[in-house]
Amino acid sequence: MLRVNNIEVIYSNVVLVLRGVSLEVREGQIVTILGANGAGKTTTLQAISGLLLSQEGEITRGSIELGDTRIDHRPAEDIVQLGIIQVLEGRRLFGHLTVEENLAIGAVARGHNRRMIAEDLEQVYRYFPRLKDIHRRISGYLSGGEQQMLVIGRGLMARPKLMLLDEPSIGLAPLLVQDIFQAINQINKESGIPILLVEQNAKIALEVADYAYVMETGRIVLDGPADQLAENEDIKEFYLGLTQVGERKSYRDVKHYKRRKRWLG
């Protein structure tokens, strides 16, 4: 349903951040983009959601299509109306509004009426029962896990056709990360909303995802079904931190990966 074709993104007319990124999200899938800091994961999401424009970024080549319509070079507000909702990195919320008001914003922005808002609130509270207990609290004072639930819930309130999640695991305790990803998986399975997930926590992302892309310095260097990628030696080594126990590492192995990367990229 979403297709990114060979896009190139330049910030402030000089900095080339994405050099030909292509990816695809199919109906009902969870697709993840893995990669280190500065690889261009967030930029890819912002290119899709249109937020790039407000940060002096520009798509200079390639195209982005939702179904049959081209959506690159459209302002962020329009893209939200098409049903692509980005949940920003770092659990950003309207800190002085209550939990319920924060959730309502997601729906208000798409022009939903009060009845629809009430229905959607019920649904969000079903996925995140904790939010119902605290729905009158000022959201700035919530714990990190609650805030993450809140921002994902706010995304759901917009009745998305596609959700873009930017590092939902960032700065959360391992147990909470489990909870959040379980909820993400449940949302995807029950409501069929496709999710494009950017993560540094490769292990858990590969567990829930159907398909995965690995980015490095503005390029996709590797992609494949998530379960296969989880078995890939390079991924194990560089993203999952697994090495054969007791075996000595030689520089040649590292070089092998670099060569591979150059070839793939």
């Binding site: 959601s49 962020a76 109306q81 309207f94 509004l97 309502a104 208000v108 922005a109 798409r110």
Partner: protein, 306 residues
């Protein structure tokens, strides 16, 4: 101090603070959504009053219809200011945008002088000019009960201002547009990412500011007459908003009433210099409050999680 005058001036001061609070609220509306401090609010107020005068006296329309038309025209002018003066400045430093409103204030003032002329005008009486209300208090001074004398104008202006404040407060708290405005005021980028059309929201807040300014202008003009110096009333409203913390509606109301009260109280003094200092009192109060509470009386403190 003329203690026997204290209740009278305290009460008239607070009542006069009502319209100040309403005018200050116009500033809050814009600041809340876009972080712009609108120096042209006084001129919006003046124009609102002038239009009302024009429709009712020059065109001899019904007074209420005139007010309604003036409100509509001013809402449009508010929209237009946002659309043609401020939107092109999006992305510029905030200071340039604020200076733009300062420029606008001068331009609008000049325009008002060109179009309407600088003469003092008779403004139609909205509230009956009948006998003032008299309240006999249980306080006794030299054997007689102190009687408070309140002009009808003053009382009803206060009532209208309070109703206006309640309507705006309710709009912010309970409508979807109000919610969207509150969200936008917190984080423009985040608001945009959730799909809120923040430019439309800026437009709405400027339109509303025009409406509020008109109502405030009409209230003031009907009690003190209309000439171009009406725009200077905002000099009392600026400290009221700052006192309230710039983004708080209850704070602004408290600020407006406090300013009114301070202006009333100095008149109780027997020292001529103090008695005539009503115009600078708002700023004296402002300085004292800001020294103690820099975020204003009710301003939002940044929420920091620890």
């Amino acid at each position: 101090m003329n203690w026997q005058l204290l209740p009278q001036f305290a009460l008239t001061g607070i009542l006069a603070g009502g319209p100040i609070a309403l005018i200050a609220l116009g500033l809050v509306l814009i600041f809340k959504s876009s972080y712009i401090f609108n120096f042209a609010q006084g001129q919006l107020l003046l124009l609102g009053a002038l239009f009302t005068w024009y429709f009712s006296i020059e065109l001899e329309l019904n007074l209420w219809l005139s007010i309604f038309l003036a409100v509509a025209v001013m809402a449009l002018i508010g929209f237009a200011i946002e659309r043609f003066a401020l939107r092109p400045m999006t992305g510029q430093p905030l200071l340039s945008i604020i200076l733009m409103t300062l420029g606008l204030s001068q331009a609008l003032q000049g325009l008002a002088l060109l179009v309407f002329g600088g003469a003092q005008r008779n403004f139609p009486q909205i509230f009956s000019a009948g006998d003032p209300y008299k309240i006999t208090t249980p306080l006794v001074h030299e054997g007689n009960n102190i009687i408070l004398i309140l002009k009808q104008n003053l009382v009803w202006s206060f009532v209208v201002a309070v109703i206006g404040v309640i309507i705006i407060g309710g709009f912010f708290q309970y409508t979807r547009t109000g919610l969207a405005m509150r969200a936008t005021s917190e984080d423009h980028e985040l608001a945009q990412s959730t799909g809120l059309r923040i430019r439309r929201i800026f437009g709405i807040s400027w339109g509303l500011a025009g409406v509020v300014a008109t109502v405030g202008g009409v209230l003031l003009a009907t009690s003190s007459g209309l000439d171009l110096s009406l725009s200077l009333v905002v000099l009392a409203a600026f400290p009221a908003v700052l006192l309230g913390g710039l983004d708080s509606i209850p704070g602004t109301v408290a600020g407006g009433l406090l300013i009114g009260l301070s202006q009333g109280l100095v008149k109780v003094s027997k020292v001529p210099i103090v008695r005539n200092s009503a115009e600078i009192m708002p700023y004296v109060v402002l300085m004292i409050v800001l020294l103690i509470r820099p975020e204003g009386l009710f301003g939002q403190k940044r929420i920091e999680r620890i």
